[in-house]
Protein backbone atom coordinates (compact mmCIF):
# COMPACT_ATOMS: atom_id res chain seq x y z
CA UNK A 1 0.00 0.00 0.00
CA UNK A 2 1.45 3.33 -1.05
CA UNK A 3 0.39 6.67 0.27
CA UNK A 4 0.08 9.50 -2.24
CA UNK A 5 2.58 12.16 -1.26
CA UNK A 6 2.78 14.29 -4.39
CA UNK A 7 -0.08 16.70 -5.15
CA UNK A 8 -2.63 15.36 -7.63
CA UNK A 9 -2.96 17.59 -10.68
CA UNK A 10 -6.24 16.63 -12.34
CA UNK A 11 -5.48 18.80 -15.37
CA UNK A 12 -2.36 16.76 -16.14
CA UNK A 13 -4.45 14.11 -17.89
CA UNK A 14 -2.84 11.45 -15.74
CA UNK A 15 -5.73 11.15 -13.32
CA UNK A 16 -9.46 10.72 -13.49
CA UNK A 17 -11.98 11.27 -10.74
CA UNK A 18 -14.79 8.73 -10.25
CA UNK A 19 -17.66 8.79 -7.80
CA UNK A 20 -18.70 5.44 -6.45
CA UNK A 21 -22.05 5.74 -4.66
CA UNK A 22 -24.25 6.84 -3.03
CA UNK A 23 -26.37 4.51 -5.18
CA UNK A 24 -24.05 1.71 -6.11
CA UNK A 25 -24.26 -2.03 -5.48
CA UNK A 26 -20.69 -2.05 -4.20
CA UNK A 27 -21.36 0.50 -1.50
CA UNK A 28 -22.72 -0.71 1.80
CA UNK A 29 -25.70 1.56 2.36
CA UNK A 30 -25.86 5.10 1.06
CA UNK A 31 -22.53 6.82 1.13
CA UNK A 32 -20.15 7.78 -1.59
CA UNK A 33 -16.50 7.46 -2.34
CA UNK A 34 -14.75 10.17 -4.32
CA UNK A 35 -11.96 8.22 -5.95
CA UNK A 36 -9.03 9.63 -7.86
CA UNK A 37 -7.56 7.09 -10.22
CA UNK A 38 -4.30 6.73 -12.05
CA UNK A 39 -5.11 4.04 -14.57
CA UNK A 40 -6.94 1.38 -12.54
CA UNK A 41 -5.25 2.27 -9.28
CA UNK A 42 -6.84 4.43 -6.63
CA UNK A 43 -4.44 7.18 -5.56
CA UNK A 44 -6.83 9.09 -3.30
CA UNK A 45 -10.14 8.33 -1.62
CA UNK A 46 -12.45 10.77 0.10
CA UNK A 47 -15.59 9.56 1.77
CA UNK A 48 -18.86 11.47 1.82
CA UNK A 49 -21.69 10.75 4.21
CA UNK A 50 -24.95 12.52 5.04
CA UNK A 51 -27.36 10.85 2.64
CA UNK A 52 -29.11 9.15 5.55
CA UNK A 53 -28.80 11.83 8.18
CA UNK A 54 -32.10 12.09 10.02
CA UNK A 55 -30.87 13.77 13.18
CA UNK A 56 -31.71 10.87 15.51
CA UNK A 57 -29.69 12.23 18.41
CA UNK A 58 -31.44 15.59 18.20
CA UNK A 59 -34.83 13.91 17.80
CA UNK A 60 -34.24 11.88 20.93
CA UNK A 61 -33.47 14.96 23.01
CA UNK A 62 -37.05 16.11 22.32
CA UNK A 63 -38.84 12.84 23.04
CA UNK A 64 -39.64 11.06 26.29
CA UNK A 65 -37.63 8.05 27.40
CA UNK A 66 -40.28 5.58 26.31
CA UNK A 67 -40.88 7.27 22.95
CA UNK A 68 -37.21 6.93 22.09
CA UNK A 69 -37.21 3.16 22.03
CA UNK A 70 -39.19 3.31 18.78
CA UNK A 71 -36.52 5.59 17.30
CA UNK A 72 -33.30 3.78 18.20
CA UNK A 73 -33.89 0.66 16.13
CA UNK A 74 -33.70 2.75 12.96
CA UNK A 75 -30.09 3.72 13.52
CA UNK A 76 -28.64 0.49 12.08
CA UNK A 77 -31.15 -1.06 9.72
CA UNK A 78 -29.72 -4.58 9.40
CA UNK A 79 -29.08 -4.75 13.17
CA UNK A 80 -31.75 -2.79 15.03
CA UNK A 81 -31.67 -5.07 18.05
CA UNK A 82 -28.31 -3.85 19.32
CA UNK A 83 -29.68 -0.30 19.45
CA UNK A 84 -32.73 -1.50 21.36
CA UNK A 85 -30.63 -3.37 23.90
CA UNK A 86 -28.09 -0.60 24.45
CA UNK A 87 -30.68 2.13 24.84
CA UNK A 88 -32.70 -0.01 27.25
CA UNK A 89 -29.61 -1.03 29.25
CA UNK A 90 -28.39 2.57 29.57
CA UNK A 91 -31.78 3.90 30.69
CA UNK A 92 -32.17 1.01 33.13
CA UNK A 93 -28.75 1.72 34.63
CA UNK A 94 -29.54 5.41 35.15
CA UNK A 95 -33.05 4.71 36.45
CA UNK A 96 -31.97 1.84 38.74
CA UNK A 97 -34.12 -0.80 37.06
CA UNK A 98 -33.05 -4.44 37.01
CA UNK A 99 -34.60 -6.54 34.23
CA UNK A 100 -35.63 -10.08 35.27
CA UNK A 101 -33.39 -13.06 34.53
CA UNK A 102 -35.67 -14.47 31.86
CA UNK A 103 -35.52 -11.16 29.99
CA UNK A 104 -31.70 -11.33 30.06
CA UNK A 105 -31.77 -14.74 28.34
CA UNK A 106 -34.35 -13.61 25.80
CA UNK A 107 -32.32 -10.49 25.05
CA UNK A 108 -29.16 -12.53 24.54
CA UNK A 109 -30.92 -14.88 22.14
CA UNK A 110 -32.39 -11.92 20.31
CA UNK A 111 -28.94 -10.36 19.88
CA UNK A 112 -27.35 -13.59 18.69
CA UNK A 113 -30.12 -14.27 16.15
CA UNK A 114 -29.66 -10.68 14.98
CA UNK A 115 -25.95 -11.28 14.59
CA UNK A 116 -26.72 -14.35 12.48
CA UNK A 117 -29.18 -12.46 10.26
CA UNK A 118 -26.78 -9.58 9.81
CA UNK A 119 -23.83 -11.84 9.01
CA UNK A 120 -25.92 -13.77 6.48
CA UNK A 121 -26.61 -10.54 4.65
CA UNK A 122 -22.95 -9.58 4.88
CA UNK A 123 -21.78 -12.98 3.63
CA UNK A 124 -23.97 -12.59 0.57
CA UNK A 125 -22.61 -9.07 0.13
CA UNK A 126 -18.97 -10.08 0.15
CA UNK A 127 -19.66 -12.94 -2.28
CA UNK A 128 -21.58 -10.61 -4.62
CA UNK A 129 -18.84 -7.98 -4.45
CA UNK A 130 -16.50 -10.56 -5.96
CA UNK A 131 -18.95 -11.64 -8.64
CA UNK A 132 -20.67 -14.57 -6.95
CA UNK A 133 -24.28 -13.46 -6.91
CA UNK A 134 -25.66 -16.95 -6.44
CA UNK A 135 -24.28 -17.15 -2.92
CA UNK A 136 -26.03 -13.87 -2.18
CA UNK A 137 -29.35 -15.49 -3.14
CA UNK A 138 -28.68 -18.40 -0.79
CA UNK A 139 -27.69 -16.30 2.19
CA UNK A 140 -30.54 -13.80 1.80
CA UNK A 141 -32.99 -16.70 1.67
CA UNK A 142 -31.57 -18.08 4.91
CA UNK A 143 -31.59 -14.61 6.47
CA UNK A 144 -35.29 -14.59 5.75
CA UNK A 145 -35.69 -17.82 7.71
CA UNK A 146 -34.10 -16.04 10.67
CA UNK A 147 -36.40 -13.06 10.10
CA UNK A 148 -39.32 -15.50 10.25
CA UNK A 149 -38.18 -16.32 13.78
CA UNK A 150 -38.09 -12.62 14.63
CA UNK A 151 -41.58 -12.23 13.26
CA UNK A 152 -42.76 -15.03 15.52
CA UNK A 153 -40.93 -13.67 18.53
CA UNK A 154 -41.60 -9.96 18.14
CA UNK A 155 -44.30 -9.47 15.51
CA UNK A 156 -41.90 -7.69 13.15
CA UNK A 157 -39.22 -8.75 10.70
CA UNK A 158 -36.88 -5.75 10.70
CA UNK A 159 -37.70 -3.16 13.37
CA UNK A 160 -38.64 -5.45 16.23
CA UNK A 161 -39.02 -2.99 19.12
CA UNK A 162 -38.84 -6.07 21.32
CA UNK A 163 -36.21 -5.08 23.87
CA UNK A 164 -37.79 -2.30 25.91
CA UNK A 165 -36.58 -0.58 29.08
CA UNK A 166 -37.34 -3.02 31.90
CA UNK A 167 -37.22 -6.25 29.90
CA UNK A 168 -38.72 -7.56 26.67
CA UNK A 169 -42.19 -7.19 25.20
CA UNK A 170 -43.28 -10.82 25.01
CA UNK A 171 -42.53 -14.41 25.90
CA UNK A 172 -41.66 -16.95 23.19
CA UNK A 173 -44.53 -18.45 21.23
CA UNK A 174 -45.38 -22.15 21.62
CA UNK A 175 -42.98 -24.43 19.73
CA UNK A 176 -40.49 -21.63 19.00
CA UNK A 177 -37.45 -23.58 20.20
CA UNK A 178 -38.08 -26.46 17.76
CA UNK A 179 -38.53 -24.11 14.83
CA UNK A 180 -35.45 -22.14 15.84
CA UNK A 181 -33.34 -25.31 15.97
CA UNK A 182 -34.57 -26.23 12.51
CA UNK A 183 -33.48 -22.84 11.14
CA UNK A 184 -30.10 -23.15 12.87
CA UNK A 185 -29.58 -26.56 11.26
CA UNK A 186 -30.39 -25.12 7.84
CA UNK A 187 -28.03 -22.18 8.30
CA UNK A 188 -25.28 -24.49 9.51
CA UNK A 189 -25.67 -26.60 6.38
CA UNK A 190 -25.55 -23.47 4.25
CA UNK A 191 -22.35 -22.32 5.94
CA UNK A 192 -20.79 -25.66 5.12
CA UNK A 193 -21.71 -25.14 1.47
CA UNK A 194 -20.41 -21.58 1.49
CA UNK A 195 -17.15 -22.88 2.91
CA UNK A 196 -16.73 -25.05 -0.17
CA UNK A 197 -18.10 -22.68 -2.79
CA UNK A 198 -16.71 -19.36 -1.60
CA UNK A 199 -13.67 -19.92 0.55
CA UNK A 200 -12.16 -22.54 -1.72
CA UNK A 201 -12.98 -20.60 -4.85
CA UNK A 202 -9.81 -19.66 -6.75
CA UNK A 203 -11.17 -16.31 -7.94
CA UNK A 204 -12.28 -15.24 -4.47
CA UNK A 205 -8.95 -16.27 -3.01
CA UNK A 206 -6.99 -14.50 -5.73
CA UNK A 207 -8.88 -11.25 -5.31
CA UNK A 208 -9.54 -11.13 -1.55
CA UNK A 209 -6.20 -12.37 -0.24
CA UNK A 210 -3.85 -9.45 0.27
CA UNK A 211 -6.65 -6.91 -0.21
CA UNK A 212 -7.02 -4.15 2.38
CA UNK A 213 -4.48 -5.37 4.90
CA UNK A 214 -4.95 -3.76 8.33
CA UNK A 215 -1.56 -3.65 10.02
CA UNK A 216 -1.34 -4.12 13.82
CA UNK A 217 -0.20 -0.53 14.36
CA UNK A 218 -3.39 0.71 12.68
CA UNK A 219 -5.75 -1.05 15.07
CA UNK A 220 -5.62 1.28 18.07
CA UNK A 221 -4.57 4.35 16.12
CA UNK A 222 -7.71 4.10 13.96
CA UNK A 223 -9.98 2.69 16.67
CA UNK A 224 -10.55 -0.54 14.73
CA UNK A 225 -12.75 -3.03 16.57
CA UNK A 226 -14.66 -6.28 16.09
CA UNK A 227 -13.85 -8.80 13.36
CA UNK A 228 -11.69 -6.22 11.56
CA UNK A 229 -9.38 -6.19 14.61
CA UNK A 230 -9.76 -9.89 15.38
CA UNK A 231 -8.69 -10.78 11.82
CA UNK A 232 -5.49 -8.86 12.59
CA UNK A 233 -4.86 -11.10 15.60
CA UNK A 234 -6.37 -8.92 18.33
CA UNK A 235 -8.31 -11.25 20.61
CA UNK A 236 -10.88 -8.71 21.78
CA UNK A 237 -14.56 -9.37 22.25
CA UNK A 238 -16.78 -7.50 24.70
CA UNK A 239 -18.92 -10.59 25.21
CA UNK A 240 -15.95 -12.27 26.86
CA UNK A 241 -13.86 -9.30 28.07
CA UNK A 242 -16.67 -7.32 29.73
CA UNK A 243 -19.57 -9.79 29.84
CA UNK A 244 -23.11 -8.44 29.81
CA UNK A 245 -26.52 -10.17 29.79
CA UNK A 246 -25.82 -13.92 30.17
CA UNK A 247 -22.68 -14.19 28.04
CA UNK A 248 -20.62 -15.22 31.07
CA UNK A 249 -22.78 -18.36 31.30
CA UNK A 250 -22.24 -19.38 27.68
CA UNK A 251 -19.45 -21.38 26.14
CA UNK A 252 -17.97 -19.75 23.04
CA UNK A 253 -14.67 -19.09 21.38
CA UNK A 254 -13.32 -15.67 20.38
CA UNK A 255 -12.37 -16.21 16.75
CA UNK A 256 -9.19 -14.55 15.52
CA UNK A 257 -7.07 -14.55 12.39
CA UNK A 258 -3.67 -13.26 11.37
CA UNK A 259 -3.48 -12.29 7.70
CA UNK A 260 -5.79 -9.30 8.28
CA UNK A 261 -6.93 -8.99 4.67
CA UNK A 262 -10.41 -9.14 3.13
CA UNK A 263 -10.23 -12.93 2.91
CA UNK A 264 -9.24 -13.32 6.56
CA UNK A 265 -12.00 -10.97 7.71
CA UNK A 266 -14.49 -13.11 5.80
CA UNK A 267 -13.09 -16.26 7.42
CA UNK A 268 -13.39 -14.77 10.88
CA UNK A 269 -17.03 -13.77 10.32
CA UNK A 270 -17.85 -17.16 8.83
CA UNK A 271 -16.49 -18.91 11.93
CA UNK A 272 -18.24 -16.42 14.22
CA UNK A 273 -21.53 -17.40 12.64
CA UNK A 274 -20.90 -20.98 13.66
CA UNK A 275 -20.06 -19.80 17.19
CA UNK A 276 -23.31 -17.80 17.19
CA UNK A 277 -25.33 -20.87 16.22
CA UNK A 278 -23.62 -22.77 19.05
CA UNK A 279 -24.61 -19.99 21.48
CA UNK A 280 -28.27 -19.87 20.42
CA UNK A 281 -28.51 -23.64 20.85
CA UNK A 282 -27.15 -23.30 24.39
CA UNK A 283 -29.65 -20.55 25.16
CA UNK A 284 -32.57 -22.58 23.86
CA UNK A 285 -31.43 -25.45 26.06
CA UNK A 286 -30.83 -23.51 29.24
CA UNK A 287 -33.19 -20.53 29.18
CA UNK A 288 -35.77 -20.42 32.01
CA UNK A 289 -39.15 -21.50 30.67
CA UNK A 290 -41.18 -19.32 32.97
CA UNK A 291 -40.94 -16.28 35.20
CA UNK A 292 -41.41 -12.56 34.57
CA UNK A 293 -39.91 -10.99 31.46
CA UNK A 294 -40.60 -7.36 32.37
CA UNK A 295 -39.57 -5.44 35.48
CA UNK A 296 -42.00 -3.28 37.38
CA UNK A 297 -41.79 0.13 35.72
CA UNK A 298 -42.76 3.66 36.71
CA UNK A 299 -45.55 5.37 34.75
CA UNK A 300 -43.62 5.80 31.53
CA UNK A 301 -45.79 8.71 30.38
CA UNK A 302 -44.39 10.81 33.24
CA UNK A 303 -41.03 9.13 33.59
CA UNK A 304 -38.21 11.30 34.90
CA UNK A 305 -34.86 9.55 34.95
CA UNK A 306 -32.46 10.81 37.68
CA UNK A 307 -29.56 13.01 36.60
CA UNK A 308 -26.56 10.93 35.56
CA UNK A 309 -24.30 9.78 32.82
CA UNK A 310 -23.23 6.40 31.49
CA UNK A 311 -21.71 4.61 28.55
CA UNK A 312 -23.00 1.13 27.73
CA UNK A 313 -21.51 -1.03 25.01
CA UNK A 314 -22.03 -4.38 23.33
CA UNK A 315 -20.27 -6.50 20.72
CA UNK A 316 -22.26 -6.19 17.51
CA UNK A 317 -21.21 -7.81 14.23
CA UNK A 318 -18.90 -4.90 13.50
CA UNK A 319 -17.42 -4.60 16.97
CA UNK A 320 -17.98 -2.20 19.84
CA UNK A 321 -21.36 -0.52 19.60
CA UNK A 322 -22.09 1.96 22.36
CA UNK A 323 -24.69 4.32 23.77
CA UNK A 324 -23.64 7.34 25.80
CA UNK A 325 -26.49 8.91 27.74
CA UNK A 326 -26.56 12.07 29.82
CA UNK A 327 -29.68 12.83 31.85
CA UNK A 328 -30.54 15.88 33.94
CA UNK A 329 -33.50 14.63 35.99
CA UNK A 330 -36.12 15.80 33.50
CA UNK A 331 -38.43 13.81 31.22
CA UNK A 332 -35.95 14.20 28.38
CA UNK A 333 -32.39 13.26 27.59
CA UNK A 334 -29.82 16.01 27.91
CA UNK A 335 -27.64 14.23 25.38
CA UNK A 336 -27.39 10.89 23.63
CA UNK A 337 -24.45 9.86 21.51
CA UNK A 338 -24.43 6.65 19.49
CA UNK A 339 -21.00 5.15 18.90
CA UNK A 340 -21.03 2.88 15.85
CA UNK A 341 -17.94 1.01 14.61
CA UNK A 342 -18.57 2.23 11.06
CA UNK A 343 -17.67 5.74 12.12
CA UNK A 344 -14.00 4.95 11.80
CA UNK A 345 -14.13 1.83 9.58
CA UNK A 346 -16.01 3.56 6.76
CA UNK A 347 -14.18 6.87 6.88
CA UNK A 348 -10.62 7.01 8.24
CA UNK A 349 -9.84 3.32 7.65
CA UNK A 350 -11.47 3.18 4.21
CA UNK A 351 -9.70 6.35 3.07
CA UNK A 352 -6.38 4.83 3.98
CA UNK A 353 -6.90 1.27 2.71
CA UNK A 354 -8.36 2.38 -0.63
CA UNK A 355 -5.08 3.98 -1.70
CA UNK A 356 -3.17 1.59 -3.93
CA UNK A 357 -6.21 -0.64 -4.51
CA UNK A 358 -7.49 -1.52 -7.97
CA UNK A 359 -10.82 0.20 -8.73
CA UNK A 360 -12.41 -3.22 -9.38
CA UNK A 361 -11.70 -4.26 -5.79
CA UNK A 362 -13.02 -1.16 -4.03
CA UNK A 363 -16.47 -2.69 -3.56
CA UNK A 364 -14.96 -5.86 -2.09
CA UNK A 365 -12.72 -3.82 0.19
CA UNK A 366 -15.61 -1.76 1.47
CA UNK A 367 -17.84 -4.74 2.10
CA UNK A 368 -14.95 -6.52 3.84
CA UNK A 369 -14.90 -3.71 6.43
CA UNK A 370 -18.64 -4.26 7.06
CA UNK A 371 -19.94 -0.73 7.45
CA UNK A 372 -23.40 0.77 7.92
CA UNK A 373 -23.64 4.49 7.06
CA UNK A 374 -26.74 5.22 9.24
CA UNK A 375 -24.72 4.62 12.38
CA UNK A 376 -22.17 7.20 11.19
CA UNK A 377 -24.72 9.92 10.58
CA UNK A 378 -27.28 9.12 13.26
Amino acid sequence: MQQQNTPIDLSSGKYVKVWQGPQHPGITGNMSLELTLCGDEVVECKTHVGYLHRGFEKLMERRTFIQNFTVVCRIAVPEPTFNEYLYAAAVEELAGIEPPERAQWLRTMNLELMRLASYLMWLGGIAAAFGQGTIYQWTITHRDYVLDLFEEMTGARVYHMYIVPGGVRARLPEGFAERAREVLDRVEKLLDEVEKVLFKNAVFKARAKGLGVITPDMVDHYGIVGPNARAAGFERDLRRDEPYLVYDLLDFEVVTGSASDAYERARVRHREMLEGIHMVRQILERMPGDGPFQARMPNVLHWQVPAGETYVKAECTRGEYGYYLVTDGSQFLRRIHVRGPSYTHAIAVMERLAVGTNIADIAGLMVSLHTYPPEIER
Binding site: V49, G50, E57, H221, H337, T344, A348
Partner: protein, 181 residues
Protein backbone atom coordinates in the same frame (compact mmCIF):
# COMPACT_ATOMS: atom_id res chain seq x y z
CA UNK B 1 -13.85 2.63 44.41
CA UNK B 2 -11.43 -0.25 43.87
CA UNK B 3 -7.74 0.17 44.82
CA UNK B 4 -6.53 0.07 41.20
CA UNK B 5 -8.80 2.94 40.21
CA UNK B 6 -7.85 4.90 43.33
CA UNK B 7 -4.17 4.39 42.55
CA UNK B 8 -4.72 5.68 39.02
CA UNK B 9 -6.47 8.78 40.36
CA UNK B 10 -3.60 9.36 42.80
CA UNK B 11 -1.03 9.11 40.01
CA UNK B 12 -2.97 11.48 37.77
CA UNK B 13 -3.69 13.94 40.58
CA UNK B 14 0.04 14.35 41.14
CA UNK B 15 0.34 16.11 37.79
CA UNK B 16 -3.12 17.42 36.93
CA UNK B 17 -6.02 19.14 38.63
CA UNK B 18 -8.89 16.68 38.61
CA UNK B 19 -12.43 17.51 39.63
CA UNK B 20 -15.86 15.87 39.71
CA UNK B 21 -14.22 12.45 39.97
CA UNK B 22 -16.66 9.58 40.40
CA UNK B 23 -17.02 5.97 39.44
CA UNK B 24 -20.28 5.47 37.55
CA UNK B 25 -19.91 1.69 37.70
CA UNK B 26 -17.05 -0.80 37.84
CA UNK B 27 -15.03 -0.11 34.71
CA UNK B 28 -16.22 3.45 34.06
CA UNK B 29 -14.57 6.42 35.74
CA UNK B 30 -15.77 9.99 35.12
CA UNK B 31 -13.63 13.05 35.77
CA UNK B 32 -13.05 16.60 34.63
CA UNK B 33 -9.79 18.38 33.76
CA UNK B 34 -9.14 22.03 32.93
CA UNK B 35 -9.13 22.87 29.26
CA UNK B 36 -5.48 23.97 29.22
CA UNK B 37 -4.31 20.55 30.48
CA UNK B 38 -6.74 18.37 28.55
CA UNK B 39 -4.68 17.27 25.55
CA UNK B 40 -1.58 16.55 27.64
CA UNK B 41 -3.75 14.65 30.13
CA UNK B 42 -5.27 12.54 27.36
CA UNK B 43 -1.84 11.96 25.84
CA UNK B 44 -0.52 10.79 29.22
CA UNK B 45 -3.48 8.43 29.62
CA UNK B 46 -2.77 6.96 26.20
CA UNK B 47 1.02 6.68 26.47
CA UNK B 48 1.50 6.18 30.20
CA UNK B 49 -1.62 4.39 31.41
CA UNK B 50 -2.44 2.26 28.35
CA UNK B 51 -5.75 3.97 27.49
CA UNK B 52 -5.03 3.36 23.83
CA UNK B 53 -8.58 3.27 22.50
CA UNK B 54 -10.62 6.39 21.79
CA UNK B 55 -14.21 5.14 21.95
CA UNK B 56 -15.59 8.51 20.84
CA UNK B 57 -15.46 12.25 21.30
CA UNK B 58 -18.65 14.23 21.71
CA UNK B 59 -20.11 17.37 23.29
CA UNK B 60 -22.95 18.19 25.66
CA UNK B 61 -24.62 21.58 25.46
CA UNK B 62 -25.26 23.20 28.85
CA UNK B 63 -26.81 26.34 27.43
CA UNK B 64 -28.00 27.53 30.87
CA UNK B 65 -24.40 27.67 32.09
CA UNK B 66 -22.97 28.96 28.82
CA UNK B 67 -20.66 25.98 28.34
CA UNK B 68 -20.11 22.92 26.22
CA UNK B 69 -18.73 19.89 27.99
CA UNK B 70 -16.57 17.78 25.73
CA UNK B 71 -16.44 14.06 26.56
CA UNK B 72 -13.41 12.07 25.50
CA UNK B 73 -14.24 8.40 26.17
CA UNK B 74 -11.07 6.33 26.48
CA UNK B 75 -10.56 2.63 27.07
CA UNK B 76 -7.77 0.46 28.42
CA UNK B 77 -7.85 -2.96 26.74
CA UNK B 78 -5.42 -4.47 29.25
CA UNK B 79 -7.62 -4.03 32.33
CA UNK B 80 -10.94 -3.29 30.57
CA UNK B 81 -11.36 0.07 32.29
CA UNK B 82 -12.88 3.15 30.72
CA UNK B 83 -12.48 6.83 31.51
CA UNK B 84 -14.75 9.67 30.43
CA UNK B 85 -12.61 12.80 30.42
CA UNK B 86 -14.75 15.93 30.60
CA UNK B 87 -13.53 19.33 29.50
CA UNK B 88 -15.60 22.50 29.77
CA UNK B 89 -15.29 25.14 27.08
CA UNK B 90 -17.13 28.42 26.74
CA UNK B 91 -20.03 28.45 24.30
CA UNK B 92 -19.19 31.95 23.15
CA UNK B 93 -15.61 31.01 22.27
CA UNK B 94 -16.17 27.38 21.39
CA UNK B 95 -12.67 26.24 20.57
CA UNK B 96 -10.53 23.33 21.69
CA UNK B 97 -7.08 21.94 20.92
CA UNK B 98 -7.11 19.11 18.41
CA UNK B 99 -6.22 15.49 19.19
CA UNK B 100 -6.01 14.35 15.57
CA UNK B 101 -2.35 13.47 16.01
CA UNK B 102 -3.21 11.06 18.83
CA UNK B 103 -5.87 9.07 16.95
CA UNK B 104 -6.58 8.98 13.23
CA UNK B 105 -10.37 8.96 13.64
CA UNK B 106 -10.35 12.01 15.94
CA UNK B 107 -10.35 14.34 12.93
CA UNK B 108 -13.74 12.95 11.87
CA UNK B 109 -15.23 13.53 15.34
CA UNK B 110 -13.86 17.07 15.38
CA UNK B 111 -15.21 17.76 11.91
CA UNK B 112 -18.63 16.61 13.07
CA UNK B 113 -18.48 18.73 16.25
CA UNK B 114 -17.57 21.78 14.16
CA UNK B 115 -20.60 21.23 11.96
CA UNK B 116 -23.14 20.13 14.58
CA UNK B 117 -22.09 22.27 17.58
CA UNK B 118 -19.94 24.99 16.01
CA UNK B 119 -16.89 23.99 18.06
CA UNK B 120 -13.59 24.72 16.37
CA UNK B 121 -10.47 22.56 16.60
CA UNK B 122 -7.72 24.59 14.91
CA UNK B 123 -5.36 22.49 12.81
CA UNK B 124 -7.66 19.49 12.57
CA UNK B 125 -7.60 18.15 8.96
CA UNK B 126 -10.70 18.84 6.86
CA UNK B 127 -12.33 20.67 9.78
CA UNK B 128 -14.43 22.94 7.56
CA UNK B 129 -15.44 20.26 5.06
CA UNK B 130 -19.13 19.38 5.14
CA UNK B 131 -19.84 16.26 7.17
CA UNK B 132 -23.55 15.42 7.04
CA UNK B 133 -24.97 18.79 6.09
CA UNK B 134 -24.46 20.44 2.74
CA UNK B 135 -24.28 24.22 2.55
CA UNK B 136 -25.65 24.66 6.07
CA UNK B 137 -25.90 28.35 7.01
CA UNK B 138 -28.07 28.15 10.14
CA UNK B 139 -27.22 27.77 13.82
CA UNK B 140 -25.30 24.48 14.28
CA UNK B 141 -28.23 22.08 14.67
CA UNK B 142 -27.13 20.21 17.79
CA UNK B 143 -26.99 23.43 19.81
CA UNK B 144 -29.92 23.62 22.19
CA UNK B 145 -31.17 26.93 20.82
CA UNK B 146 -31.69 25.42 17.36
CA UNK B 147 -35.44 24.97 17.07
CA UNK B 148 -36.18 22.05 14.76
CA UNK B 149 -39.90 22.84 14.53
CA UNK B 150 -39.36 26.50 13.64
CA UNK B 151 -36.74 25.48 11.07
CA UNK B 152 -39.14 23.01 9.46
CA UNK B 153 -42.01 25.49 9.38
CA UNK B 154 -39.81 28.15 7.85
CA UNK B 155 -38.17 25.84 5.30
CA UNK B 156 -41.04 23.59 4.21
CA UNK B 157 -44.64 24.42 3.36
CA UNK B 158 -47.73 22.38 4.16
CA UNK B 159 -49.26 20.78 1.09
CA UNK B 160 -52.85 21.63 0.33
CA UNK B 161 -55.35 18.98 1.30
CA UNK B 162 -53.19 17.46 4.02
CA UNK B 163 -53.78 17.95 7.70
CA UNK B 164 -52.29 16.53 10.85
CA UNK B 165 -54.60 15.00 13.42
CA UNK B 166 -54.32 15.77 17.07
CA UNK B 167 -53.65 12.21 18.31
CA UNK B 168 -55.66 12.60 21.53
CA UNK B 169 -58.73 13.97 19.76
CA UNK B 170 -58.41 11.51 16.88
CA UNK B 171 -58.35 8.48 19.20
CA UNK B 172 -61.19 9.84 21.30
CA UNK B 173 -63.38 10.17 18.23
CA UNK B 174 -62.59 6.61 17.18
CA UNK B 175 -62.95 4.99 20.60
CA UNK B 176 -65.58 7.15 22.32
CA UNK B 177 -67.55 8.86 19.52
CA UNK B 178 -70.52 9.62 21.77
CA UNK B 179 -68.50 10.86 24.70
CA UNK B 180 -68.40 14.55 25.49
CA UNK B 181 -66.51 16.41 28.23
Amino acid sequence: MNPTTQALIDRLSAHFTLSEVREQKPGLLLLKVPRKDAVQFIRDLRDGENYTHLNFLTAIDYIEQGIFTLTYMLHNYANHQGIAVHVDIERERAEMDSIHKLWAQAATYQRELREMFGIRFPGSPGLDDDFCLEGWDQIPPMRKEFDTLAFSQERFHTREGRASEDPREHMRQIMYPTHSD
